[in-house]
């Protein structure tokens, strides 16, 4: 417990320093606040001092909430005896980035912006968010503009992403209206192994994303797999059928609401439940 408090306090302090506050390094008021409030010093401090307000509109983006975590140990089925049972914390994915993105990412963004000129959609219309995180560039592309973006990525000499190394689905049930994500990874051999990730979302109720098989034929089986596992329909795919599961299989196994399955196993008198029904610490 004492560790938690001091961690939180030092976090708050370092945040203050990052915000470049004009107050002196001591900040006695903040100290008192953090020690009396205890568990949530950051929130109250923000209300107290102007310097610690979130950045002004248009200067920085907030992290993206994709879900929430309850309790301390992720136990969903049984009571949380740690005393943190009521704790609700959002799951925050990296926020949108601002220029300069660093590395070769600005170059990619510039060239994509130029390549999309004269097309159906401009860069601003096609790309809803640019995220640079952990040394990787992610372009969140609106689904209707995915083929146009993919074509520019492939054909523009300054971009020249010859290879699409497949599409992978991710299911975020808590992100209302954009539950299903299709994540494409592109590789440019011409430009020395540059990579870019394109992420496209669609709502669960209208799980349609345009196919890019006509642009990247290699994506044929990858899109079939994502349809099979997540139920995303890739419109325009030449033969969108199941690929790993049997043709008459009900449901899409990689969705979060699809159970893992399994049976309890008895061993030396004790019964071990299947993995998805065991007590979890996630």
């Amino acid at each position: 417990m004492s560790d938690e408090k001091s961690d939180a306090k030092s976090d708050a302090e370092s945040d203050e320093k990052k915000a470049g506050s004009t107050q002196g390094p001591d900040q006695p008021a903040a100290r008192i606040a953090s020690s009396t409030i205890g568990d949530q010093p950051g929130e109250l401090l923000e209300e107290e001092t102007d310097e610690r307000l979130p950045a002004a509109p248009g200067t920085a983006f907030d992290p993206v909430v994709v879900g929430e975590r309850r309790g301390m140990f992720g136990a969903a089925d049984i009571g949380d005896t740690s005393g943190y049972g009521g704790l609700v914390s959002p799951v925050l994915f990296p926020a949108a980035s601002q220029r300069p993105y660093g590395s070769y990412f600005d170059d990619i963004a510039d060239n994509l912006e130029r390549g999309l000129v004269g097309g159906a959609a401009s860069f601003g219309e096609a790309v809803e968010r640019v995220v640079v995180d952990r040394g990787e560039l992610t372009l969140f592309v609106r689904r209707e503009h995915l083929p146009a973006v993919a074509r520019v990525l492939r054909d523009d000499p300054a971009l020249r992403f010859e290879m699409c190394t497949g599409v992978s689905g991710v299911h975020y049930p808590a992100e209302t209206g954009r539950e299903l994500h299709a994540v494409y990874h592109f590789l440019s051999i011409t430009h020395g192994g540059r990579r870019v990730r394109v992420e496209v979302t669609c709502p669960d109720g209208d799980a349609h994303i345009p196919s890019i098989v006509s642009i990247y034929p290699a994506n044929d089986w990858h899109e079939r797999e994502t349809w099979d596992m997540f139920g995303i329909e890739f419109d325009g795919h030449p033969a969108l059928t199941r690929i790993l599961m049997p043709d008459d299989w009900p449901g899409h196994p990689q969705r979060k609401d699809y159970p893992l399955g399994g049976i309890p196993v008895e061993y030396k008198g004790a019964t071990i439940p299947p993995p998805d029904q065991r007590r979890s610490y996630n």
Binding site: V66, G67, R69, F73, G74, V91, L92, F93, P94, D133, R134, G135, E136, T138, E162, M163, C164, T165, G166, S168, G169, V170, H171, V183, H185, L187, I189, G192, G193, R195, R197, Y216, P217, A218, N219, D220, W221, H222, E225, R242, I243, L244, M245, P246, D247, D248, P253, Q254, L260, P275, D276, S280, Y281, N282
Partner: protein, 455 residues
Amino acid sequence: MSTTEHHMSDRDIYATSGADAAESEGAHVFNAAGGDWDQLVDEAAALHEERIVVNMGPQHPSTHGVLRLILELDGETVTETRAGIGYLHTGIEKNMEFRNWTQGTTFCTRMDYLTPLFNETVYCLGVERLLGITDEIPQRASTIRVLMMELNRISSHLVALATGGMEMGATTVMTVGFRERERILAILEMVTGLRMNHAYVRPGGVAQDLPPGAIDKVRDTIPLVRRGLGELELLLNENPVLKGRTVGVGHLDLTGCMALGITGPVLRSTGLPHDLRKLTPYCGYETYDFEVITRTEADAYARLRIRIDEMYESLKIAEQAIDRLQAVPGPVMVADKKIAWPAQLAIGSDGMGNSLDHIREIMGTSMESLIHHFKLVTEGFRVPPGQVYAAVESPKGELGCHVVSEGGTRPYRAHFRDPSFNNLQATAAMCEGGQVADVIVAVASLDPVMGGVDR
């Protein structure tokens, strides 16, 4: 309506739909299940139909496991090829979402069972980038990873050649290949305890340091493997029968490879020196001296020769790696005790287990160590939310891993871009218009492993 229901109830469960059944009505179906072949051939010949559809697999010995090839034949000529996969789907990606980050290696190592160390490494590189500890991985751990991956590359290529030879009827190639592979597996067993499915590479480093004598064993084995490769070369390179079966077969040029996203030896057989070890180095590959082997014929023979030459390059890298391992001792797991697996392993009277020193510390002297051990082993470490894509050059091509974390102790999603899965898409382009017998050679030159394809 009642007839439809009756039809549905006792139909073949593998038939796809009513439409298919209707379409195949009137077509003659012959089931070859090991009965009288002459009778079957006579029956088929009596129909005077040249165009037949043959299901090769999923239990055919020359399909590298359970690949099903649907061939439309006009006499001996293949007019259409489709690959049916999924017979080995085991839900590894889904299972990984229910185990902690460290346990993930135990699952992904089983995907492509001929390249287990590549599967583990690409997953661990992804997890490490998510954790932001890529630069903190000890030098020695990376060098061990390189050594193990290159040895694994040799064993995988040897299986590709051995089974490829066997499928063409050259059983000596098979026995020589498997004999040499056995030498490599002996090293892998000595280091990891297992011949395959090692779960040796872990997030943060490797499970344990090389055991005493391992470096000497590698040093002793390399000349033997080199001599065995020479034997294989003598057997294969200028063999007129082999060249007759492979030269010009399974042709796929650079345009085709690019369109179909083909990587690995198949792409390098078109002359493009694409190798992720050079293009985007990982695990310190930029510090090793080796060549990227290319040829320009773009056929099965070129791919075979590339695999042989790549094994020599792998031996070169392995030699450099053991020199470094001998010179510099050091930790093999990241220093951060909030991530590193707490237990050290040691050989006891009853086999390998937690070292007695560690047991003594957690049970006798340090309550904090016990808590740490318990928390890390039962709950695991947490990984900050986000996603990464890591890729390595596996013997078959680009092996990619897309891992997503939601901040928990388990992967939120782990997706593997297996090169075999992608490369199998080329079967139609390689086989259509050729002879039936060449289908087997073309598929063997892709070196698909169904464990990786179906995951």
